[in-house]
Symmetry: C2
């Protein structure tokens, strides 16, 4: 089984290293991890961003499944690029797995950035008056239920690990789920 | 042509009304707009979020194209639910259109939330040391180039309109692009 490793890990200072660690965990469970930075791209070229896109899309097309890192990135929810890729893989009918190292529900996450209050019409709203999804889910329902229906439930730790970006326990749990599926076991 | 109308518009106080305005614009251009809130969901039911997911997925499957509102939502980038849907439609091979009422490039958007600096290893980073994409694009490259290759270029106004959430000029430009495609014209 070939697994596309989606996540904002590519934006970490040690982006290459974390990809190697993830690929090694995959190998240990007899599946293959495809990491975006495995594609050679000349970042100084004019069309660098397009080359990255094409490389990632080709990798996704060649993969049977995705493991997405949905740990909140630069705001209360998951990284947009990762979410796009999760959606793309869902649309292609691939198996979806994901984890978030932050187990907090979405309302709590939004509260870290400002007050969340009940509006006069009964909606839970942020400081801009925009509705805050209140289904006791960790992130937007489209991602969470896509996982439920097209792969496996979002994996979260009981408590956020000390190092949100380098603790790969929840990631490995996803690899185990994927490997079990590859071997035809229900999980 | 049936067009799925994706966007955080569903989180506005006047979410139903803006959906009606969007559908009316579609009708004026002889295409049909499918708006998530057209699905009847009992929000008090235990499985309300799952019912919303299933309704949205069925609507997307029945649509030929998507017009996604990628105006920044609760952070520097687009709403996660909308991005998931854009990815899903890309994966299903549907036509992609999108707009952002905020034309600023991503680096500028991130700067509104905190300093962006050059790290010692040459990366542009946010206050958490995470790389900030610096391709002079308005948002994550996966969305922007998906539009370039699977639909039409992201539509942005020259200047952000006074009302980011209710100005539908850029939305209507997307409808025009979609309608032209429906009629077999290149655009």
């Amino acid at each position: 089984m070939n697994i596309y490793l989606a996540g904002p890990d590519v934006f970490l200072p040690d982006a290459v290293d974390i990809g190697k660690r993830k690929a090694a965990i995959c190998a240990r469970h007899d599946v293959s991890g495809f990491y975006p930075l495995d594609n050679a791209v000349d970042l100084k070229a004019n069309d660098a961003s397009l080359a990255i896109f094409k490389g990632n899309e080709a990798m996704m097309d060649a993969a049977d499944a995705v493991i997405a890192n949905l740990t909140p990135f630069r705001g209360p929810g998951a990284d947009a690029g990762t979410v796009y890729e999760l959606g793309y893989m869902a649309g292609r009918g691939k198996l979806l797995f994901a984890y978030s190292n932050d187990p907090a529900v979405y309302v709590e996450r939004v509260r870290r950035f400002g007050p969340v209050t009940k509006s006069t019409d009964g909606r839970l709203t942020d400081q801009d008056g925009l509705t805050v999804e209140d289904f006791a889910l960790p992130d937007n329902l489209m991602m969470i239920h896509a996982l439920d229906l097209h792969g496996a439930r979002l994996v979260t730790p009981r408590q956020a690990p000390a190092d949100l970006w380098h603790d790969l326990t929840a990631f490995e749990a996803c690899v185990v789920l994927a490997a079990a599926r590859a071997n035809g076991k229900t999980s």
